[in-house]
Every structure is written in structure tokens, then in C-alpha cells.
Symmetry: C2
Subunit: 365 residues, 2 copies
DNA sequence: TTGAAAGCGCTACCAA
DNA sequence: TTGGTAGCGCTTTCAA
């Protein structure tokens, strides 16, 4: 069943797949599969093989779906594995098969509810195909440097990027890569995102229909594709409908920045009666400043529109009119695109746009 | 520098650490380190060794901190590695060194802001010591079954659990384990959590001082340690101060459950004028129902107190009086306790309690 | 200080 | 269908 090698210098015998060392006298007991001999706390496939009296290769096969082996054999092995509490070592498996079943997810702001929702959904969805999420946070450039090395070191099967910086460096890793809720300006990298231009236009039409007089746009980080595209759709849409004037201000996608930017916005123009914010968190910040800082009413005095449709948007205190992103479909698509790349052939980069949908609530009149 | 083996059956030479196969005629070109020979897209330490004309073992050493080698050698190797774009394979490293530098984090509700904040902080903190976060979501028992197998398969160096179920099964894995914001009722497993009993008493004292008449407690999942302990501290504290009557209701820690539970609470007792909720999300749900469902005022008609001090708690619309958990210190401590276990010797399980702190805002009068 | 070689626990190939 | 065996890319002795 197994072959043994005699090591002269140590006066010991080795199992051919060298796991246990048997002093000469022990050989007789080996075929009894004496459990006392097994002292290692971590059970390997060799342990299971010995216990079930089969080859190690068969143990491996028993844990490989779709591998052909007799039912009797598989049953025997799984029983032995269960008795010893064996779980295949995914690290060793990853090394030999060049496939770790780990997907790296890179985020810059885990506190943003939109991204934490996304992260949960990704983890859930990846689990369905037996894969795990390795999480990386990176806000600063120095952190990104580190993340790039780390994610490459772990030989992840694919990367999902939700950050706007250094995208090309991630791409240079040669690892399957999809941008989520972002797009590469050169369109050289696959991306799945909401059609921000179309969504911006949707808001423009709505705002013009409602006959607001003084309109404002609050962007997030000025050079992020989401802000650029949402602004573009909004401004273009307004212009086409004959509205030329647009007051602009920028935040950084956080609640606090939305709150503060609203103050600055009203210093610029105190007659603003409608604000379109590049995300919900800033929109909620805006509502809070309008109510508690300016002591004005929403929507009677000012209408506020957000983007994302996070859970908090539907809380009664805000009841935020916003653009809903079809996040579940976007995530399914992201994983599909990633899997196409993982499967192999050179896939040409595509950007998949999903239409945003205007959800009208009570923050607009 | 390197030794070669001649394989008779194939008529080929092998490098001693068999990476490249050289047909007989190629040997002459090898010492020129002709880059054209290197066709593999993934660079290994053997590639770097050949490029720098050193042994593979030295390459490994060059990437091992604190290993002794000449500066000249290390410089040469790192330069070669840089030229080839080499990153050590963390999977192979993990296999041989039995240390993956991966910490598994298991959560049940990634949408809860308290846990997403926690996750971000953990990932950040672990990064400082060169470790990664492998994320697992598990709400149902079937999912937990899967998580236990997966987390064990990846041979994570340690596990941080934030879920209340099946704790002992995780412990049976024999992997360093710390509970965060939970405790094992048998106290057989190390845990780091807020002193929920003390915090509950803090709220009890506050509530009695403020002379509320009809007091309520809203728990989360009834058998979770957090709900049990927070309730105990609160109820005991009230009793000691001579308040015997306490109306109780349960949610499940979500916003919606807090909203709904408040309706049921007022069906039970329509004179409630103070509610202590087992977490902020339910407290915010309660405030929303009180304002928009009951059309009462907070805090004039009803005072609401939460637990966690999530970001949303300080938003002006809620301005929630709540118990602040020292989350950063708790996370640092969790990793320290985990590292003690990882370092080796049998550590006896300890539960580290951190005092909660009452943050008084405007949701109480 | 450096190099040779063993082997971590698996998968996959080949032979039986 | 089953078993033997060669590595995956590293770390870690041991020798030089």
C-alpha cells in the first residue's frame, strides 16, 4: 500500500509521502492504524489515507467534485476523514492548483453604508461558488502601495476594486480585475457601474419639471468618475431644458462633508431651493444642516436629492428622494465579468452600465 | 552556483530546484541570464535567483526580516527582484511556515454600522502587523456550517468571532479564537467586550435621576449575551434605586425591528416616557416611530437611550444619548489576546471587560 | 555568510 | 478505478 524508505543516518524508516517517522520497532504496529501513533493536531490527507487504508491520492480525489471513484471508496474515505476531523488544506491546494479561491476586495471607506452593503453582498455571492473575500482597506497612497504588494502576494484569483486611485497599477499585476461603481477613464479595464450620466439626466428632468429656481450640485471627490459623470448628466440635462445656472460645491462623500459643504453653498447663494448630491450620505448631511443649521424646512424651503439609496435614505427623518442603484444585479454581473477573465481567454474590457432609477420620496416637493 | 541533474528518459537537464527545463543545447545561454528564456508570467524566487546569480535560498532570506546576510547580497537580490517584478508567494510561504498571516473575521450582520466600523478598524490594525482579513458572513446555521469548514480549510492564524451561535464549534477547531463584543457563557473562551452589566447600571442610574415614570427596555435577540447583560445591569440598577416596574419588548438589533417593537411597546403601555434600547440602530428606529408613527416628541414626551454610539447616533435628527464603547481600545486588546494565543503557550481564557461611557445628547431630557 | 536539499500538504499525471 | 510520484514556491535545516 505504501512504500518505505530506510534512512541510514537516522536509522529510521520513512513513509513514502514522508509524514510520519517510524522507528524500526514501530513498523509492525503501523498496519493496525493505531490511533495512539497519531499525535499531530492538524490532520492531513496522509493521516486519512492511513486510517482508511487507501492511498493519499485517493483521499485527494474523494474531496474533488466530479472526480471518478467508486461510491464504496468515497464513502470509506469520507467516513475516515470525518472520524479524524479532516478538512483539506486550502493553502496547499492553492499552491499546487494555482487557484486560491480567494477574491480580493479593495475599498477606501468601509464606513460608508453603500460600500458595507456591497461588501456583504459580495461575500455572500462569492460564497455560493466556494470563494472567500480577502478584504483590503486603503485610503492613502502609501496604504495602496502596501495593498498592491499584499494582494499580489496572496495570489488572489481576482480583484474587485472600488477605489479611484492607482487603478492601472492594480491592472499591471496581471490578475483578473473588475472595477465596481467606478470606471477607468481609458476604458481599458472592465467595470460595472451605474449609468451615472443617464442618472444625472434623470435628476435634471425631475428638477426642471418641479420648477425649482435656484439649483445646486454637490460633488464628492472632484476627480472621481462618479462625481464627474453624475455632474455631467445633471448639468447637460439642465442645459438642454434651458436651465443655465448651476451653483456647485464639493464634499468628499462623507456625512460631515455634506453638512459642511451645505453651509458653504448657502454662503455662495442663499436662495438655493434644490440640491442634487453625488451620494446619499452627503445628501443626509445637507438635510441636517438645512434643518438644524439654517433652520429651514425640507422639502418646503429646499428640496434635496441623493444618490445610492442606502438604508438610511428611507428613514422617515430623511425620506430622501434618490437614485437607486440595482446593486444586486450589479454585483452578480461583476462576479460574472471577473469569472470570464478567470476562465482564461483574453477578454476585451467592457464597461457594463446599469440604469439608475429615481425613487421619489418626501425630501423633494 | 546551481547544480543540474540529467534526466535520462527525457534527455534534459534540470535545475536542482526544478523550475526550468533546459534542453541540452540551452545550457550555454543560461549563465547569460537571457531574459528571453523567462517566459513565465508569475515570477518566482528561482527566477530572481537566476537573475541575480545567487541561490534560491538567498532570495528567500533577502525577503525575511532579521535574517543575516551581507548588505551587498541583499541589495543585489532586491534589485533583481524589483527588475523582475517579484513578490513572494504568501501561499507557498504559508504552507511551509504553517502561518498564513490571515485572520478570519466572522460576522452575522455586515449592514450594522457598528460591525462595519469594527471590521474596518480590525483590517486597519491587522495590516500594521502584516496580516490580512478574511471575511465570513454567516446569519443562518447552514451558513455557519460552511464557514466553519472554510475557515478551517484556509488555516487562518486566528479567528475573531462576533456572532453568538456555535461558538464552541469554532473553538473545537483548535485555532486561536477571541470573541468580540460577545462572551461565552461558560467563560471557556477569551472575549473582549464592553462591560454590559456596568453600562446597563449606568443607564439605570441616569434614568432614575431624571425621574422618568414609565420605563421600558428593548432587547435585541433574546439569548445573546449583550442583550442579557445589558438588561440585567439595567433591571438590577433600577431595582436598587427602588424602581420595580419595567416594560420589556424585543427586537433583533435592526432599525426596522426597533421601529416595529416600539409600536408593540406602546400597545402594551401607552404611558412609556423612557426607552433604553440594546443598540443604537433599534433606538433610532424607536425615535422614528415615536416621531412619525406616534406623533410624539423626543425628548419632550419620550426619552430614548441607545447603545454603541455609531456615527448615525450623533446626527442632529437623532442626537442620541447612548453608551459609547471604546471600540479602538477593544480592538487593540482583541488582537493582543489573539496574538498571545498565536504565540503559543496554553493561555487561560480571560474575558476583558471595558467600561461603557454614557454620552448624553438631546434624545433625553 | 552562502548554497544544497528536504519537505509543507496538496493536485494531477501516469501506469497498473 | 486506484496507487505511485513529481512537483507547486517557498522556509529552514545543515554543510561548506
Amino acid at each position: 500500500m505504501n512504500t518505505y524508505t530506510y534512512n541510514k543516518s537516522k536509522g529510521e524508516f520513512f513513509l513514502s509521502q514522508n509524514e510520519y517517522v517510524f522507528k524500526k520497532g514501530w513498523i509492525a504496529t503501523m498496519d493496525n492504524s493505531n490511533k495512539k501513533d497519531i499525535k499531530k493536531s492538524i490532520v492531513t490527507s496522509v493521516d486519512v489515507a492511513r486510517h482508511a487504508k487507501v492511498s493519499q491520492a485517493s483521499v485527494s480525489r474523494a474531496f474533488t467534485p466530479d472526480s471518478s471513484m467508486s461510491d464504496k471508496m468515497r464513502t470509506k474515505i469520507l467516513k475516515a476523514a470525518h472520524e479524524l476531523g479532516y478538512t483539506p488544506n486550502a493553502i496547499a491546494r492553492g499552491l499546487i492548483s494555482q487557484k486560491t479561491n480567494i477574491i480580493g476586495v479593495v475599498m477606501d471607506n468601509p464606513a460608508n453604508p453603500f460600500y458595507s452593503l456591497m461588501l456583504g453582498e459580495f461575500t455572500e455571492k462569492l460564497k455560493e461558488s466556494g470563494r472567500q473575500t480577502l478584504l483590503f482597506n486603503a485610503a492613502t497612497d502609501a496604504e495602496l502601495e502596501h495593498v498592491i504588494r499584499a494582494i499580489s502576494g496572496y495570489r488572489v484569483d481576482g480583484i474587485i476594486l472600488t477605489i479611484p486611485n492607482r487603478i492601472s497599477e492594480f491592472n499591471a499585476l496581471g490578475i483578473p480585475l473588475v472595477l465596481f461603481n467606478r470606471r477607468d477613464f481609458d476604458e481599458k479595464i472592465s467595470a460595472v457601474c451605474c449609468d451615472n450620466v443617464q442618472s444625472g439626466r434623470l435628476v435634471a428632468d425631475y428638477v426642471v419639471d418641479r420648477k425649482y429656481k435656484e439649483i445646486a450640485f454637490m460633488g464628492g471627490l472632484a476627480d472621481s468618475s462618479t462625481t464627474i459623470d453624475r455632474r455631467k448628466g445633471f448639468a447637460d440635462g439642465l442645459k438642454e431644458r434651458g436651465v443655465g445656472k448651476l451653483t456647485e460645491i464639493n464634499g468628499d462623500y462623507t456625512f460631515q462633508s455634506g453638512y459642511d459643504a451645505t453651509r458653504r453653498l448657502y454662503e455662495k447663494n442663499k436662495n438655493i431651493d434644490a440640491i442634487f448630491c453625488a451620494n446619499d450620505l452627503m445628501a443626509i448631511g445637507a438635510i441636517e444642516y438645512i434643518k438644524f443649521g439654517l433652520k429651514k424646512r425640507v422639502p418646503e424651503d429646499v428640496s434635496v436629492i441623493g444618490f445610492d439609496d442606502i438604508t438610511e435614505a428611507s428613514w422617515p427623518s430623511f425620506d430622501l428622494t434618490t437614485i437607486h442603484q440595482p446593486i444586486k444585479r450589479m454585483i452578480t454581473e461583476t462576479i460574472r465579468v471577473l469569472d470570464d477573465q478567470i476562465k482564461g481567454e483574453e477578454v476585451k474590457p467592457t464597461i457594463n452600465y446599469y440604469n439608475g432609477e429615481l425613487v421619489i420620496r418626501k425630501s423633494t416637493k
